[in-house]
Symmetry: none
Subunit: 336 residues, 2 copies
């Protein structure tokens, strides 16, 4: 009589051992890829696995030290934002090349939620965590007791000693964009941005200051806005600016701000020269096409995964910070 598993549960390694008439240890060695197994036994195990539909339980396996879950955990702001979606896409595609799955969790820029998803990723024993620090900071990374998987910060630095970091050149990219607006004759360039507590915002603001300093133009602090957290807030802010007539150009410090500004142009029926930070698919389709500082999101995702993989391979060198260059795409919207 053939002994099969009960129908109401998944077949276990024990079932495979019974069916193949070999010891549990041998099945375990086979399943874990050992090759020094008697070929006849290996063949019996292979058949038993196929007949029973046995599948290795990686969720269980991953709690054994030294094993791998085969999963990268990625914590981003929010999948609805095309910038994060592009980053996720890039990480996912590199992960797939190396046979890894990707678990994505959104922090919604909230510290408590960020900590919850990190906790859950650690429970899942992911192989590495690629983390975007949220706007409102939660616990310090030192809160989690070691051992931690490799952690790589992307887009913004994080607070874990020894972790690698991949950033874009926010300062240089913004400096070039604002310089282009100044070169076009603008003298009252509004900075439409988010909270400067965000690393990226602070760097972009510095780039804005740098360009002004290089051109000998004094910045009017009443043209610097840190309150554009969403495209809706940017709409209101830019609409007010247009009505007041105080600005002669806009630097939109992220894609939300740029979309909001374009919506305000449409609502108010007038426009200003504008350059945005972050490229997105629709940017060239507007009238005029939107000029942007483009980050190489593909390269950032790739660099982050590679950094984590290097650490998994035992690289225990000092933490590295990579700053990837940006590209200024001038398409027309920078002109009056």
């Amino acid at each position: 009589m053939v002994i099969g598993p009960r129908q109401d549960r998944r077949p276990t390694m024990n079932d495979v051992a019974a069916r193949a008439q070999v010891g549990l240890r041998t099945v375990s060695r086979y399943v874990n890829g050992m090759t020094n197994i008697n070929p006849e036994m290996a063949e019996r195990i292979r058949s038993a696995i196929e007949e029973l539909g046995y599948r290795r339980n990686l969720a269980a396996a991953s709690i054994r030290p030294g094993q791998t879950s085969g999963v990268i955990g990625l914590v981003i702001g929010d999948l609805a934002n095309p910038y994060w979606a592009a980053l996720a896409r890039s990480v996912e595609s590199v992960a797939a090349e190396t046979g890894l799955l990707l678990t994505i969790a959104s922090s919604e820029e909230d510290g408590a939620r960020h900590d919850w998803v990190v906790e859950r990723l650690l429970q899942q024993q992911v192989d590495m965590i690629i983390d975007v620090a949220p706007r409102t900071v939660g616990r310090s990374w030192s809160h989690w007791s070691p051992p931690l998987p490799p952690v790589v910060f992307v887009d913004r630095p994080g607070d874990l000693a020894g972790a690698d970091t991949v950033l874009a050149d926010n300062r240089g990219g913004t400096r070039d964009a604002v310089a282009a607006l100044l070169a076009g004759g603008a003298r009252r360039i509004a900075f439409v941005g988010d909270d400067r507590a965000l690393h990226t915002m602070d760097e972009r603001y510095e780039g804005y200051l740098l360009a002004h300093a290089q051109h000998g133009v004094v910045v009017d602090p009443t043209l610097v806005f840190e309150t554009s957290h969403s495209s809706g807030q940017a709409v209101d802010l830019v609409a007010r600016l247009l009505r007041e007539g105080r600005a002669d150009a806009l630097f939109a410090a992220n894609n939300r701000a740029a979309v909001g500004a374009l919506l305000a142009f449409r609502t108010v029926g007038t426009r200003l020269p504008i350059i945005g930070f972050d490229d997105f698919e629709a940017a060239p389709l507007f009238d005029p096409p939107l000029s942007v500082v483009a980050q190489d999101v593909e390269a950032m995702g790739r660099a982050a995964v590679r950094a984590g993989l290097d650490r998994l391979q035992g690289d225990d060198g000092p933490a590295r910070v990579q700053v990837l260059p940006t590209t200024l795409q001038l398409r027309g919207s920078e002109r009056p």
Copy 2:
């Protein structure tokens, strides 16, 4: 006297059930985010959870056999497409509400890659798989030996008996859009679409035929294109149509086709009335704003997760197909 849990252990679901004076199953359903619970009971459970400080212990749950890994697996086409990103976003947000993580994998519309990611998700023992069948079909779902976690097909039907399915009303949405173009006087409406082997394309094509039939207008089959797999291909196709002058309006059968058509309008310097299928953030920002058939992606993601959770709770009723309505958003681009 209020009966509380002993101080030396975490409160369990049993403690919550005892405190709220409801059955364990009801607490479990509440904790798993089910909404069809007697409101008075739900309120008692909510209070009990708060008073006891009960927290669902997913870490323990995931290592007990037959229990949950706390992860939803989602197989989509490609995160770079805003439609899939929006779907992923919706599933992720419902997952988070119920304490679940989300593992996302792209099939790139390729059957072999699809099968690889499904295999990996099964190894990870995900709690459910929400699956978008790829354009080129791989193995049949019957290839994988049971037991499988609940599988829910979304956007397109799949080939697993008993699996639930969540679709948009592609046929009705397209019929209404094409009817609006016909009502505006168009008589030679090009269908710019992808391969009709895709369920969604076939349904949209049927909607296009239906609207013509209802208006007593004969379709010119040389205006029906199934070769627009990417926005680049749509650009070429629409640019040729514009130069030939054979069409007097366009139905862009997905967001790639719509973006390609707008790019072609810009390149050629002329435009046609157009309505697209799928809304996206930039659609209202074009000049004129793009009219679209909008799917309720949020509701689709929610319905898919809920269907899977119901199955996890033991619902073994016959497979359900939910077809969610679409909305025609007329913004101006449908006019000459």
